[in-house]
Structure formats: C-alpha cells, structure tokens
C-alpha cells in the first residue's frame, strides 16, 4: 500500500513507529495506579494465613479468637469455599484453601477480612491450626522413585514427554556428557499480588486485579465460587510486572469469597515476603545430556534426560515439560534425538510460568554441551554452532519442519563479529571500581581479574502449542465524535508492561488511517484474549485487532463505494478515503455521520497438533523464535566475582512493530538472563524458602547491567500478522548460557550449576584453562 505524504504523522504512530507509551511518564513519576492502589470507601482488607510447613496434615483449625477480634468481619476456611475447592491452569489440583493436607510452605489455610490491614493480619495470626508435620519430599529424583509417598492421587509424575527420532542406539566418534542444574528463579516483579473484589447486586462479583489472563481467572473463580461465569466480571487493574507469575490465581478467589460473604469490597495486597509465597517460580531442573558428533563437528545424536521440579501443584508444569522436551536439543539439526523430560510433584514451592518457560533450563544444558563438544573437537564454539544450526526447512526432533526464517547462523555471526569491548581502565590500567568485578565494594584494582568471552543461542516457541485452541478476541469500533473519526479497541488482553496498549493503537492507526485511537480497559465484557505469555500477544491479540480493523475498514469502504463514483481500489488514511490515484475522495467523518461501524473478531493462529505420546512427533508449535548472545565478562578469579562487561544480542523479530519496545524487551530479557546466570535464586532448604526478600534474593541493578549492543533482524514470517515474530522470551534464554560460557572461558571452572556462586568459581578454577585477553 502506498501512503500519501500527508500521512507522515500517522506512520510514526502506526506500525513500525515507536509512539510514546501512555503509561510511561506516569510510571516514571510514580503516578501510575497499580492494583495495590485500588480503593473503595467502605472496603475491607484481606489477609491470608499460610502454612509454615512444607508438608503436614491439618488436624484442627480454630477460628474463634480471630473472629472475636474487633474489626474482623469474616474468617473463612475451606468449609466456606462455595464451589469447587480446586483450581489450576492445566489440572485443577490446588485447593483454594487447604483441607486436610498442606503441600508447601506458604499454602493458604484461611483468609480474613477486617476493617484495617493490620487488624486482618493480627486476626490471621490468631487462627489456631494443629498440624501433624510430615516428611517433605524435596528431591525430584526421590519423588519419582518407587516407595516415595504420593503427594497427589495419581502419584508424583505430572508429565513425561518422550521425543524419539532416528536411530534408537546411535553411536558417534566424539561423545561428551554432562549433568547440569538450574536453581529456582523468581519473576521478581515489583508490584505484589493485589486486587479488589466488589460484591454485586446480582449475586455476582466484580474483581479488579493485576493478572495475565482475565478469562482463565474468570473460569477458575466461577468454579470455586459455584456461580455461572458471567457473574464474575473482571477488569484488569494496573499491573506491576508479571513474567509468568500472574498466570496462576493468587488472591482472586479469596477476595471474591470474602466480598460475597461480607457484602463489602475486599482488597488484598501481599507484602514483599508474602509475594515470594504467593506465586509460582521457574522450575528448577536437573539435566543429563549426551552429545555425539563426527570428528568434523556434525551432531550425530543427542540424548537428554530433563527433570523439572514442579513443586506442590501442577500449575503449567505439563506445558513447561512439553517445551523442555521439544526444544531440548536447541536450534540445531540433530538426526537422532532421544529426549525424556519429566515434571514432578514435590513439597517444594509450586513452579509454573516464567519468561522462557522450559526453554531456559534446556538451553543452559544444550549450550553448555555445545561448548564442551567444541572443546573436545578443538573447534571454535561459534563455528560448531554454525555448522549445526537449524535454518528454514530444517526438521526439529519432533519431525516439525521449520517453515519460516530461522537465521541461527546469521545471528551467531552477528554477535561474534561485533567489535570487542576495550579492556577496563585508562592508559595506566587504573579503572573505576564500578567497572571491575565487585563493583563499588572495592575488592580489586585488577588483581586476579581475567576476561572471558562466551556465546549462547536459543530457541523458543511463540504462542500456545500442542493443539491448544489459542485465540484472541478484539472489538473495534469506528465512529465520529466531535466531527473527528475515532477508533476504540476493546480486548481482554493484559498490558503487563510489555507495551501492548501502545501496540494495539498502532495497529488500529495503520489499518484504519485514523489518528485518534482509544484502547478501552481490558475486561471480561469482551471475549478472551488468551494470556499475556508465551511471547504471543503481539501475534495473537495483534492479529485479532488487525482482523477486526480489517472488517471495520471493509465496511467503511463498502459504504464509500456506494456513494462514490465507481472505480479502483480504496483505502483509508488520515481520516480520509483515498483512491488508488492517491487522491482523497471522501472524508471518513462526513461519510459516516452518525453511523457506528463495529466488528468483533475472534482470531486464531494456524492450529498446532498434540505430540505423539510414544515418540513426541508432531507439528506442535506455531512459530519458532531465536536469539543469540555474546557475553564478555571480567572475573575476579580469586574471589569468584563476576562483572559482565558487555552483552551483545542479535534477534530476529520478523517485523519490529514498535522498534523501541522490541529493544526494551531484548534489554529486559537479557537482564533476567543475566540474573539467572550470576545471582537470582530462591534458595529452598527442606522445602522452606530461606531468602524470601529482596535483601537476599538479588536481581541485577543498573551497576550490574553492561552495555547491550543489539541487532534486530526483520525476516518476515509469512504466517504471522505483519510477519512478526514473538520477541519477549528469546533474549532471556540465550543470555544465561553465554554469560556462563564466558565465566568458564575466564576461569576454566566447570560451572555446571546456575546461578553461579563465587564459591563455584573459586574452588574449581583450573589455573591454565582460561583464555584471557
């Protein structure tokens, strides 16, 4: 489509531009209303009593003292759950409030509503619960073993996915094996779980909440409240980060129960420590890999066994296992693959969705192996990767053929060929301490510091897989207000900070040629948009908005064709109907008058297939996305402290709908990957979290983040709206192994566990194994 010169303004605010985010300035200034800021005049405050034990039998719950506290309006237990006392994204296995058994530390046992948050907390502390403490199952290997008590009726296995491709007993001249461990990462969003439920006159409830997927919340809440779904109306409240942690329910049912019980609005805001118990985390993993290759570095086979600790409840473990298995050999051509991925129940904290979703853990395993293989072959690690890289037309271990761009080799070359960052320090070698490992803590002036360079490349599926009916709904309306054409877009898609509100408006501007676009609050008055996860919203909700706009446009152009002299194709731009000559032939406002054009479209990406249960074969994924990183690190080899000097990334995004948002996603994803590499871990001992605070759960600060040179490729995917490829997750996946590889290169340490701790570096350093530059 050609655009007339009068449309410059709309172009920068449409697809391919980076218009200013409506929430940006508010967030920077602290004026954005988050879900924790919700307020109603007569509201009550909720509080939750949680189990202190990772595994125990509840023998009695006495609420009398709590109820007697002045200011307390309700104390509810599992007996008061009106509907089904179970919820869960894939298996409804988790009680709203514990009945006879608690299966993890922090499991909700009772909830309280009171007229003051402090009163509510004190009342919760007055509830008496008698526990028979049971031995927790804390090791995933044990969970799978015979004789281990079953934590759920069907045993401790949530899912086992087998991938069988090629020769079942392959052999190769060069073989490397390794065992790798991934610690439990937290999403570490800054806005704690919060929301407010308001009882409605029709016996239903209106819930305002920070979440990722309104309709899946609605379905689960309605089932637990025992009311029809339409009696639970949800509006998205301001979301302070998500990263997967808001896909499962937290306080939603509790607030609704208390609101319906008391007849008053009830608000919950978790504290920081409580938040660590209030959401699922990234699955810890233990992985065994065996890679076989020819002498000239062609992969012959990969065998992998991946154990993912799902913790006490299933959450999205099944899908995480599916990803770890199907993406388990990475973006490489592997003729013979034998992968077993298991998801297990234990009494550890429940694990579920987090950015990268199963692909992160596997990538640390296969990329560590690729480096090990390169060393065994005496090959350059990038050359080895390039030699085996998938490309368009390659077959995955599931048998699925990659049918759009897969520029893995090019991404690797891009990061490899970037100029190397200079050594730190001035001409005399004197460096600002902030540039050295240890940073402002003044631990080195260069003593013991060695530089290392490492690479990582990863693969991620975009959108929901394995035959899931994955769709989004958009309602788009065009009308004339005050003489101007105005578009409103209504979806239930959750803006979780990724910039989806901005993007929807860009799409509407591009499709309808109308500058003024309003994005209505996301709520359940419109159909499901699916989850803001799996890097899918630009694709699926973007696709739905585009399709609804197209329907609106078609109707407007049909109206125009009726009144205009026939001839040529028409399009919309700058609030005008434009003829194929480029001439404006009608004004949209004049054309429509009082007429409102509105279309609601339910839009699906092309269907996927389930995996064959015996062989794991099937076209399970919609789209693959790739990113590569090069990490340059300085390591204080004597203290084991790491400073990432530079983190270069190259990623193919198909089409950068909003280039600034794309780069933001890559920077943020890389930061989360850096966190997993060198600091972020929920430490669990005997089923108990020992660091539930930002004092000891460390996330990278501005002084930990290095410069990030970024290359964005735009190789359109013909199957996707605008050719786009999901952006959010790939950079999280490859950053981690690149950094670990760089630390290995600097130190010679084996580093088979992430996050790397200083003692891992210090006590395994092999003096002359490192390359320094």
């Amino acid at each position: 489509m050609t655009r007339s010169s009068t449309e410059r303004a709309d172009t920068t605010a449409g697809i391919g531009g980076s218009p200013i985010r409506p929430d940006g300035a508010l967030k920077v200034k602290g004026e954005f209303a988050y879900s924790s800021d919700l307020w109603a005049e007569d509201m009550l405050w909720g509080a939750t009593l949680r189990s202190p034990h990772p595994h125990a039998r509840i023998t009695a719950v006495r609420i009398g003292k709590a109820l007697a506290l002045p200011g307390v309006h309700a104390v509810l237990t599992h007996d008061d759950v009106p509907g089904r006392n179970r919820f869960g994204l894939e298996h409804a296995d988790q009680p709203v409030l514990a009945e006879d058994v608690v299966r993890y530390q922090g499991e909700p046992v009772a909830v309280v509503a009171a007229d003051h948050p402090e009163t509510a907390r004190r009342a919760a502390a007055l509830i008496e619960v008698d526990y028979d403490v049971l031995d927790p199952v804390t090791d995933p290997e044990t969970a799978l073993a015979d004789g281990t008590p079953a934590l759920h009726p069907d045993g401790n296995l949530v899912r086992h996915v087998r991938i069988r491709r090629g020769d079942p007993e392959p052999a190769a001249p060069v073989v490397v094996t390794g065992e790798y461990t991934v610690g439990m990462q937290d999403q570490a969003f800054l806005g704690p779980e919060s929301g407010m439920a308001v009882p409605a006159e029709d016996g239903g409830v209106d819930l305002y909440v920070a979440t990722q997927w309104l309709h899946v919340d609605q379905r689960q809440i309605a089932e637990s409240l025992g009311v029809p779904q339409e009696k639970v109306r949800i509006t998205l409240a301001g979301v302070g980060g998500a990263f997967g942690a808001r896909e499962d329910l937290s306080m939603q049912v509790h607030a609704c129960m208390l609101a319906m019980h008391t007849g008053k609005p009830v608000k919950f805001v978790y504290g920081r420590e409580e938040s660590f118990f209030g959401h699922v985390h990234r699955h810890p993993a233990v992985m065994r890999y065996e890679h076989g290759a020819t002498e000239d570095g062609r992969l012959v086979y990969v065998r992998a066994r991946i154990l993912l600790d799902g913790g006490a409840y299933a959450s999205t473990t099944s899908a995480v296992v599916g990803n770890a298995a199907t993406l388990g050999v990475g973006p490489y051509e592997v003729p013979n693959a034998h992968v077993d991925a298991f998801g297990l129940y234990t009494n550890n904290p429940p694990c579920g969705a987090m950015r990268g979703f199963g692909a992160v853990q596997a990538c640390f395993g296969y990329e560590s192996q690729m480096d090990k293989l390169a060393a065994a072959l005496g090959m350059d690690p990038v050359d080895l990767r390039v030699r085996n890289a998938v490309r368009e037309g390659s077959t995955m271990p599931t048998g699925q053929v990659i049918d759009s761009a897969a520029p893995v080799a090019e991404l690797l070359r891009l990061v490899r060929d970037k100029p190397m960052p200079a050594p730190v320090g001035d001409a005399e070698g004197v460096a600002d301490p902030r540039e050295l490992p240890g940073g402002v803590s003044n631990t080195t002036r260069g003593e013991g510091v060695r530089r290392g360079v490492g690479y990582g490349v990863g693969i991620k599926n975009v959108a929901f897989s394995e035959g899931f009916d994955d769709y989004s709904t958009a309602r788009v309306r065009l009308e004339v207000i005050g003489g101007e054409p105005v578009v409103s877009v209504h979806t239930a898609a959750a803006e979780v900070g990724q910039g989806l509100v901005t993007l929807q408006a860009q799409i509407a501007r591009t499709e309808l040629g109308v500058h003024q676009v309003t994005i209505l609050p996301a709520d359940t008055a419109v159909g499901s948009a699916g989850s803001s996860s799996a890097s899918r919203q630009s694709y699926v909700t973007g696709g739905a908005v585009k399709a609804a706009c197209e329907a609106v446009r078609a109707e407007v152009l049909a109206i125009a064709a009726d009144v205009l002299p026939a001839g040529g194709e028409l399009y919309l731009n700058g609030g005008k109907v434009i003829a194929s000559t480029g001439e404006a032939v009608a004004d949209v406002a004049a054309l429509l008058g009082d007429r409102v054009v509105e279309h609601t479209v339910e839009w699906r990406h092309r269907p996927t297939q389930p995996l064959d249960p015996a062989t794991g074969q099937g076209n399970a994924h919609v789209q693959y996305a790739f990113a590569a990183h090069r990490a340059v690190v300085d390591v204080d080899t004597e203290l084991g402290l790491v400073r990432v000097v530079e983190l270069a990334c190259a990623q193919d995004v198909g089409r950068a709908l909003n280039p600034q948002a794309v780069v933001g996603q890559i920077q943020g994803g890389s930061a989360q990957g850096l966190g997993l590499a060198v600091m972020e871990e929920i430490q669990v001992v005997g089923g108990k979290v020992v660091n539930p605070s930002f004092t000891d759960y460390l996330i990278p600060t501005i002084l930990d983040m290095p410069p990030m040179p970024i290359d964005v490729l735009e190789l359109a995917d013909p199957h996707a709206p605008y050719g786009l490829r999901g952006v959010g997750e790939p950079p999280t996946i490859s950053a981690t192994p690149a950094i670990v590889a760089a630390v290995r290169a600097a130190t010679g340490a084996a580093l088979t566990r992430i996050p790397i701790r200083p003692e891992h570096v210090v006590f395994t350093t092999v003096e002359d194994g490192g390359h320094s530059s």
């Binding site: 504290g271 402002v440 003044n442 400073r643 060198v678 000891d696 600060t701 701790r757 200083p758």
Partner: protein, 304 residues
C-alpha cells in the same frame, strides 16, 4: 504506637529513661524494614532526627561542618545521626576507612538516611561501619540520664544483634582517631552494588605507633578483630616504616591466613564458611598491599 519526638539530647535521654522499651529511630533504614516485615512491634518509637546534637561531627581541634576550614585535632567525634552521605562528603580525609565503608552501603537513598548510630544500634555482624571502627580503634559514646561512657568498639558487640548498650542508653557519638596512615575497606557481595556483605575486611595502618588495626565483618557472630594478624603485621612492618619497600609475598599471604583464621564464619544463604575464610584471606592480602603501597608512595593523604 507512641511516637516520641525529642528536640534535644537531654529530652531524648529523658524520654529513653521514661520509656526504656521505646525503640530509637534514626534513618529508619533498618527499623522500617523490620516494622514492615512485622518482625518487631515496638510500643513506642523515639525519633532522633530532631536532635541537633546527634547530627553533627567535630574534632578535638574544633567543630566540623565548616567546609572551608580544617579544624585540625586528633580525634573525630562523629554524631550518631550523621548520615553516610555526609561521612563520604565531609570525612573522607580524616576517616578514610569509614568513608570507604560508607560508600559501599546500600544505594544513594540509603546512604542519605542511614547512620553509624543505626548500624551500631542494629549491631548486625554484617554492618559495614563496624570493621573500620574496629580497625581504627574507635570508641562508642553511650549516654543515659545516668551519665555517659565510652565503650571501645572491640567491646561493643556481644553477639548477633546484641551489644553492650543498656536498655536506657543511646549511642550518642563515635570517637575515631583521625587517620595517621592509609586505611582500607573491602567487601564481598554477589552483586556489584546494593548488597549485604558476604564478608568484609577493614585495615588501618598506624605509622606513628607501628600498629596495624583490622576489622572483619559478616564472618562471625559479631564483627571481629584479627589480633594475631595485627601483631604479625606490626612485627613485620617494624623496621620497614622508615625505608619502606614492597612487602614480600610471604608476608602478605601469612597475613591473609591469619585474618582467615580469626574469622568464625558459618554457612548461610549468602555464602559458605569455607568461601568466607578464603575470601577474607584474599581481601586481607589485597588491602594490606594497597595500604602499604599508599604509605610507601606517599599517595595516601587526608584529602584522599
């Protein structure tokens, strides 16, 4: 909860005597975290931020806070409520070890609020002000309506979060000798800023007496001095002060070993005992190298 807001030191001490269970609050950077996490529920708070006497420093040569003049003097009396940012800005020359430690505390916001009085009040083994106080041979001035006393820093810490302070006492000030030689502070954390110490070490050289001071943080139930290491270093430096050359590697290593041996670390979420000992040996070796090099080359000075 009662909120007491004395306007003078006398009022503060009277309030503390009248309400021994009132919890003092200075910068609030420790206490507010404890209140927010519901770890403490004091019946009353005693706000020290309105007490002007606590918010100043001076020397026995004159009073501080005059940016132009150098009042001279041998000892700094540092008011309990002087925040870290002022220590960094105003006392880097006189108290280099403490100022270096102050630079590593938290973030700019925390350094604007947090105080040495609060660090001592919390008496955490991880408090970053403590090692330089030990290394410098500082004394804590505690006061109550009964009178005031000076507690040597080495006797102040009694256990994790326990100190020599009596229930009716406040920390009023810390007395530190003005540095006569190079001082150092280093801390290990797993993040490049805003991190609680996995372990830390402070060193002070006292050329005029030939003594060497040390302080170990986060590697024992209390901050510690490495006394054998101090004596060893002092003995090794004897005779070198006049014609200083580089220290032999064997001396640096032995010093490191003795510092590591003085630590009493445990395994916890921040690190293992084994790593802490190892890291302390490294920090001790490096800081002694830096301090001695600064002494040899004359590159240390009070305006550092």
């Amino acid at each position: 909860m009662e909120f007491l807001r004395p306007a003078s030191l006398t009022e503060a001490l009277e309030a503390k005597a009248a309400h021994p269970d009132a919890t003092p609050i200075a910068g609030g950077t420790d206490l507010m975290v404890e209140l927010n996490f519901d770890k403490r529920r004091p019946s009353a708070l005693l706000d020290l931020t309105g007490v002007a006497e606590l918010a100043e420093w001076d020397t026995d040569g004159g009073s501080g806070g005059d940016p132009g003049g150098d009042p001279g003097g041998d000892t700094v009396r540092l008011g309990a409520c002087v925040p870290y940012s002022r220590i960094i800005g105003e006392l880097g020359g006189r108290l280099p070890g403490l100022a270096m430690a102050a630079r590593t505390v938290g973030s700019p916001q925390i350094r604007n609020r947090g105080t040495v009085g609060g660090n001592l009040g919390s008496a955490s083994p991880a408090g970053d002000a403590h090692p330089p106080l030990l290394a410098a041979g500082a004394a804590v001035e505690a006061a109550s309506t009964r009178g005031s006393r000076r507690i040597p820093a080495a006797e102040f810490f009694h256990g994790p979060k326990r100190s020599a302070l009596a229930a009716d006492e406040l920390v009023v000030a810390v007395h530190l000798p003005v540095a006569t030689g190079p001082q150092q502070f280093s801390k290990v954390g797993t993040r490049n800023a805003m991190v609680i110490a996995v372990c830390s070490f402070s060193l002070a050289l006292h050329p005029e007496t030939g003594a060497v001071g040390t302080g170990i943080g986060s590697a024992g139930p209390t901050p510690l001095r490495a006394e054998d290491a101090q004596l060893f270093a002092a003995a090794e430096l004897e005779g070198r002060w006049e014609a200083p050359g580089p220290l032999p590697d064997s001396v640096l290593r032995r010093f490191g070993e003795l510092v590591a041996a003085a630590a009493k670390p445990i395994d916890d979420v921040r690190g293992t005992a084994e790593y802490r000992r190892h890291a302390l040996a490294v920090l001790a070796r490096r800081t002694l190298t830096w301090a001695w090099d600064d002494y040899r080359t004359g590159s240390w000075s009070r305006c550092a």
